[in-house]
């Protein structure tokens, strides 16, 4: 079949990759491995370097130091058009002068182009829209064309640069699910960049959390969420209660008669749950999560409890 | 980056060869002396520049500046209401704009000739006036400074109208509504809100008109006759009939210098042409 597929190891390997611009250091000593066939997310706040890292992998930037390996071959010196990596751009970057079919066929050469284009369009439910132009499509349709255009190339690795950020919240959740299904069906490794931690947790097999040009932690969602290795990772992936060195998530904190005493300062209705903000007798603030019908009122005295298994200890 | 250098090369070479090198040569010539059979030869001399201070030539320069200034002022006076009209003309804006631009797209030379036809002693204007019995002798409308100014205004009016229109078009109508809300009547709004906000367009238009007017050759030659000698005519003369290239070179550079000074004075931070 495909000679590339005989490589066993990770599809992407970054070895101590750094990128320095004139004004600042965008990426510092990043090393990671992306397992073949997985959905891998790169999360972090704006400015953390994730977009630069993506561009380094795609080939639009060259590393200042370090190496980029794709399926056992070094690619960091190769231009983008010689790498078996394709990108779905944040703005989709559809060619305005070409039709949907023209866009999807752009990177293809050979006799089987039209078959492959038809198959890709079918995979993304775009059949029937071949002769439309990008400005005649909805946002969701444009994204699917961008996906089809990249996937038809059958890359070893698909890079997605914040693909959901342009969509409204309702559409976002729907497309999220479709992306996950697509990845499983097609089997290609997805490298997904986002600043939305919820998305990353929901979609990924593995998450890498970045902050200030460095990768802070890599691991499966559950591990990164429940066993964060730094305060930043803990705080970034969700709200966290800190009492000295001990961290515990609000959803792990319940109201129980045998807990520590606290006074309720505020109660926040979140629809599916209630967050009860309280002050411990030792002065720290704490947030507990309860069902909406069991919420106390501000000013009341309560007792908060959590299990030590849910604790995280970080300096 | 490679494609960028390959693509830039022809244009860079061409531009330098047709612009920078010739000007450098003119610069060098301006410091040499007039050759026996035209052209230039050694020794080096500064007298071409000192000669420019001679009252005869100084007068020519001052007159050129004066005429260019009047022409520019007239263009502004006549062009602003026209630009205002177009900006406020509603859905047919493009038509009115096209009617201003269209004559400009035809030949400048022919447009200048058109005024010859109208202004000369046996031209249309005089023929009509005499025929209507309003005058007995033809008015000397052609071959004077006035005709030159008229020709310049006619020729360069679109250069003033276009930037003014562009600025007026971008003007937020809500500002005028706010002014009216605060009690300003139309003329006052024009004076206190519209005009100040058009400063950029006025500056651009003034420069686009003044610099070519300063260096005009055709208009003064055809419409001014032998009486109106401006810098452009002087320079042309030195390089052809008079065969005094070094002096012509010095005059050219002075003209360039004045134009550059004006452009630098008018440039504000952040404005870019290229």
């Amino acid at each position: 079949m495909d000679p590339k597929r005989t490589h066993d190891g990770p599809v992407l390997e970054l070895r101590a990759v750094s990128k320095e611009f004139a004004a600042h250091q965008a990426v510092s000593e990043v090393s990671l491995e992306v397992p073949r066939g997985s959905f891998f997310s790169l999360v972090g706040p704006s400015g953390c370097g994730k977009t630069t890292l993506l561009r380094l992998i795609a080939g639009f930037e060259t590393p200042t130091t370090g190496e980029v390996w794709l399926s056992g071959q070094r690619i960091d010196h190769l231009p983008p058009y010689q790498r078996n990596v394709n990108t779905v751009f944040q703005s989709y970057a559809l060619f305005p002068h070409l039709t949907v079919a023209g866009n999807v066929a752009f990177g293809l050469r050979g006799d089987d182009t039209s078959t492959r284009v038809a198959r890709a369009l079918d995979q993304l439910q775009l059949t029937g829209k071949e002769s439309r132009r990008p400005d005649q499509l909805s946002g969701g349709e444009r994204q699917r064309v961008a996906l089809a255009r990249a996937l038809v190339m059958e890359p070893e690795l698909l890079l997605l640069d914040e693909p959901l950020s342009a969509l409204d919240p309702l559409l976002r959740k729907q497309v999220r699910a479709e992306l996950r299904d697509l990845q499983k069906r097609v089997g290609i490794t997805f490298l997904f960049v986002t600043h939305d931690q919820e998305e990353a947790l929901a979609l990924s097999d593995t998450i890498a959390v970045m902050d200030k040009s460095r990768v802070e932690q890599v691991g499966p969602p559950r591990e990164v969420y429940c066993r964060p290795r730094t305060r930043f990772v803990a705080n970034f992936l969700g709200p966290m209660n800190w009492i000295g060195n001990i961290g515990v998530r609000p959803e792990s904190v319940r109201l129980a008669s045998d807990g520590r005493p606290a006074v309720v300062t505020n109660v926040v209705y979140l629809g599916s749950v209630m967050h009860v903000e309280a002050r411990l007798e030792t002065g720290e603030g704490i947030i507990a999560q309860v069902a909406p019908d069991q919420a106390p009122e501000a000013g009341m005295g309560v007792h908060v409890k959590w299990s030590t298994e849910d604790e995280v200890r970080l300096p | 980056m490679k494609i960028r250098n390959v693509f830039l090369a022809p244009g860079a070479i061409l531009s330098i060869v047709t612009m920078v090198v010739p000007l450098a040569i003119v610069g060098i010539y301006s410091l040499l002396s007039r050759g026996a059979y035209g052209g230039v030869e050694l020794p080096w001399a500064l007298e071409n520049y000192t000669r420019l201070f001679d009252p005869l030539y100084a007068l020519i320069f001052l007159k050129s500046v004066w005429i260019a200034a009047i022409a520019t002022a007239l263009c502004l006076l006549l062009g602003f209401p026209l630009a205002l009209f177009i900006a406020r003309s509603g859905p047919r804006k493009n038509l009115w704009l096209a009617l201003v631009i269209l004559p400009f797209w035809t030949s400048f030379l022919i447009r200048t000739y058109g005024w010859m036809f109208l202004l000369r002693d046996t031209g249309l204007i005089n023929t009509i006036l005499i025929g209507a019995g309003l005058i007995r002798e033809p008015l000397p409308l052609l071959y004077n400074d006035g005709a030159v100014i008229l020709g310049l205004v006619y020729g360069y009016l679109p250069f003033m109208v276009l930037p003014l229109y562009a600025t007026l078009e971008r003007l937020d109508a809500r500002l005028l509504e706010a002014a009216a809300d605060l009690g300003a009547r139309p003329w006052e709004s024009l004076r206190r809100v519209t005009l100040p906000l058009c400063a950029g367009g006025i500056r651009a238009g003034a420069i686009l008109v003044f610099v070519p007017c300063l260096g005009t050759y055709l208009t003064s030659d055809l419409l001014g006759g032998s009486k109106t000698v401006l810098i452009g005519n002087l320079v042309q003369n030195q390089f052809t009939a008079s065969r005094d290239w070094p002096f012509g070179a010095a005059s050219s550079l002075l003209l360039m210098a004045v134009a550059m000074l004006l452009l630098m004075a008018a440039k504000r931070k952040g404005e870019e042409l290229l």
């Binding site: 795609a58 305005p96 | 490679k2 960028r4 693509f7 531009s15 010739p22 026209l82 797209w105 055809l222």
Partner: protein
């Protein structure tokens, strides 16, 4: 003011168009004098029969077409290069050619050519005129194409390269199609500027390269004549039609 403006506009537009309209009307005048004495096509017949005039018109066309093609190609390439990464030298030189008075450009080119001709056995002729025209048209082309490029999303080229196109391939297949309207507009601009140029051309033309503006100027110098009216009308109508047609094609 609402009423004053349109009234003023009428006069302003009359001022702008009357000279050309008058020339057109009187080109059909049977008489030489500025009094209407009947309709006639005599002057047009005279124009067509004037060999020197027709030859100069042909020269002008050749010069305009050649210089436009060259200036448009070179200028588009330069604009693209400047868009990717600016160059103060080149931008400065192009800016200089836009703001230098024509007479100065003309004499300086003449000086350079004469200096070159001391070492090469050449004379002024069509080639010097074409070179001069390409020189001053270049800046116009760059300005027009660069303006269009500023509205172009660079990630489109990246997407093309991502999909396997080389840098040139990305330019050729994605950027160039986007630029076509601007290139057409620039070409039109370069053509009209070239065809109408008198000052620079007259200084660098040789004996065998008379252009139409030079012929018209010589006729105008001799005074008003109905043949000149006829030539003027032909030129104005032809250029006007060309501009309108190009606009129509461009914005289709």
């Amino acid at each position: 003011m609402r009423r004053a403006l349109p009234i003023y506009a009428v006069f302003a537009y009359a001022f702008l168009h009357v000279p050309l309209l008058v020339l057109g009307i009187f080109s059909f005048n049977a008489s030489r004098f500025t009094v209407w004495q009947g309709f006639s096509l005599d002057w047009y017949r005279a124009v067509v029969a004037d060999h020197d005039l027709v030859e100069s018109a042909a020269n002008s066309l050749v010069i305009a077409i050649v210089s436009t093609v060259l200036a448009t190609i070179v200028g588009t390439m330069a604009a693209y290069a400047l868009w990717k990464r600016g160059s103060a030298w080149v931008s400065g030189s192009l800016y200089l050619s836009l703001v230098t008075p024509e007479i100065v450009t003309g004499v300086s080119l003449l000086a350079m050519f004469q200096w070159i001709f001391r070492y090469l056995n050449l004379r002024l002729g069509m080639h010097t005129v074409i070179l001069a025209h390409v020189g001053f048209s270049l800046a116009y082309v760059v300005v027009v194409v660069l303006a269009r490029l500023r509205g172009f999303d660079p990630s489109l080229e990246e997407a093309a390269m991502d999909l396997g196109a080389t840098e040139f391939g990305a330019f050729w297949r994605v950027t160039l199609p986007y630029l076509i309207p601007a290139i057409a507009a620039a070409g039109m601009l370069a053509f009209t500027v070239s065809i109408d140029d008198y000052v620079i051309t007259s200084l660098v033309a040789g004996i065998d390269s008379q252009t139409l503006p030079m012929t018209i100027y010589a006729m105008a110098r001799r005074g008003v004549s109905p043949e000149l009216n006829a030539v003027s009308t032909i030129v104005v109508v032809a250029l006007g039609a060309f501009v309108l047609l190009s606009e129509r094609l461009r914005t289709r």
